[in-house]
């Protein structure tokens, strides 16, 4: 019984949602269900946030290695919660928007959250370079093709590429690297994207059907009946 009900819920909800698309009176169901999801997500956060507090709290309590950093995490967490939920220093008071300029919440966002996120994002520039260095080897046909395509696109966006092939006469303008780059983007790239997208969609359909038909139940842990 404990195991049957969840499978029935999944099948029922899935089937109803698929059918709702074809019947205008039920059209909005998908939207409504995603609102339910948003609400469930907040309740679930109590579990996630609780887990965060418990793990770091434990570390501090046990004076485990690096417990000081755990204390920092917890301090940041509660500071942000207080700043946001009680709208501390918000010029508009409790009724104003939580992100109002001048509020503690917004200041923490601008000064800490934002630079941290942007810097983490900027690390990508370094990793892109090291990945190109390490992984872009013409070790087999597939890798060679990938390498050449990337190379042409890269060159096409620099003055180097423009000048390197500017001598090619207009009749063969496709062979000029910037044009070649655009051609790659619109022809083979498009074909590859389409094949991947169609494949993904079929994969999603088949997996969703496995879930709805109750063939795939790993997520419920009912794998071993």
């Amino acid at each position: 019984m404990k195991r049957k009900i969840p499978v029935i819920i999944t099948s029922l909800v899935g089937t109803v949602l698929i059918l709702s698309v074809f019947f205008p009176p039920a059209e909005r169901m998908g939207e409504d269900f995603s609102i339910f999801f948003d609400i469930i997500a907040v309740f679930a956060f109590f579990l996630g946030g609780g887990n965060l507090v418990r793990i770091h709290g434990n570390k501090i309590y046990k004076k485990a290695r690096d417990w000081g950093f755990s204390a920092v995490t917890l301090a940041g967490f509660f500071l942000m919660l207080a700043a946001g939920l009680f709208k501390i220093a918000n010029p508009g008071g409790i009724a104003a928007d939580v992100t109002a300029q001048g509020s503690l919440f917004q200041m923490l966002y601008d000064w800490i959250f934002n630079p941290l996120g942007a810097s983490m994002y900027a690390l990508l520039a370094f990793y892109v370079a090291s990945a190109s260095y390490r992984a872009f080897r013409a070790k087999n046909k597939e890798a060679t093709i990938l390498l050449i395509a990337a190379f042409i696109i890269l060159l096409g966006r620099t003055p180097l590429g423009v000048y390197a092939t500017a001598w090619i006469p207009e009749q063969f303008s496709l062979m000029q690297i910037p044009n070649l780059a655009i051609w790659i983007m619109t022809a083979p790239n498009l074909a590859g994207q389409r094949a991947i997208m169609i494949g993904i969609a079929l994969g999603v359909i088949s997996m969703s059907l496995r879930l709805i038909l109750g063939v795939e139940r790993t997520y419920l842990g009912t794998d071993n009946e």
């Binding site: 059209e27 997500a41 946030g49 887990n51 990508l124 994969g203 795939e216 842990g221 009912t222």
Partner: protein
Amino acid sequence: MKNVPISYPTFFIILPLLIILNSALTAQPEVTPIDSAAALIPRNITAKDFKYDRGETIELNWKPADRVNQEMLDGYEVYRAEESSDSFVSIGFTGPDVTRFKDNGVVSEKRYRYRVAAIVGDVPYLSEATPPASPTMELVNFNLANLFIIGCLIAGAVTYFIGHARRGKKLFIRKIAGLEAIDEAIGRATEMGRPILFVPGINDMDDVQTIAGITLLGRVAKVVADYDIKINMPVSRSIVMTTARETIKEAYMGAGRPDAYNDDMVRYITDEQFGYVAAVDGIMVREKPATCFYLGAFYAESLILAETGNSIGAIQIAGTAQPAQLPFFVAACDYTLIGEELFAASAYLSNEPKQLGSLKGQDVGKLLAMVVIIVGVVAATISQSWNIAFFTRLYDLMIKLFTVQN
């Protein structure tokens, strides 16, 4: 191929000449705009209920102004009044090339009249009012009939093959390289006595990719439980945390050692994309997992994770259906499940016939797409070149079948 009028080599040689000829022949004739802007007033306006909705839209169509006059036209403005009143209120504006308007500011079963004005400069030239129309709700959306039919075909194939396999028929599925590697990768972690890191992407459970990641977690956790390897799974969503715990716990129960399971194997970090990545990076360099799995929905963080994983010498197996991130995984990881393979993976690994059957059904969908592409492209080319009625009809039919209306 005898009736092909021009052979290909000649085709490419003559081509440039023809282009020049073509442009010379189609010199622009002089046009004189008609003075009276009134001639621009839209004619034959029809207002009717928009078909197959909840009764919230009225669709307007009208005849465009003559081509000559269109130069002066800035666009059309649409006015609406309830049947009983004469006060027409502007509800929208369209460009000069658009002669269709969908009004979705109406209430079901009320009756409305419309006027459409041609705008020249800032002056509106108003048409007569249309007869009243009222929006109604339809019960079934017949516009989507093609979606329903083709959908049933594919879904039917999947269901058929699942049933087929259940009845014990043997099905062949080719080997998928990335999946063969999973056991080997876990085995390596066992030998080295180091943990396994499992990252299910940064989206919540309302993304199928995450669900696919979790189903794969089920397979991985089984092996992990059997060999008693440490698994570490940082997640960025609370619902994913709950589901992942459930999945791993069950795997340990299945292996007959529920006491070895610990809730801390899965821990919530933060919902923030880069905050999560910062923490996972930290975990990687500090705990040095032997094997990293990245299975789910990934965005810009894909390369940060894969490069950090590489720097600690871990075996990395990735899989995602985000086309933009696949190149990074392909370049930086040892094995990558590309798009569809991610969803097929759990079925493949399960080794249950009924799950493998669904893969067969999926192939029927691909076959359908492939056949339609070949037939459609050939028909389109022939119909474009030689106007053969049969191929034109075939092409139109295919386009009709695959056009999603809304």
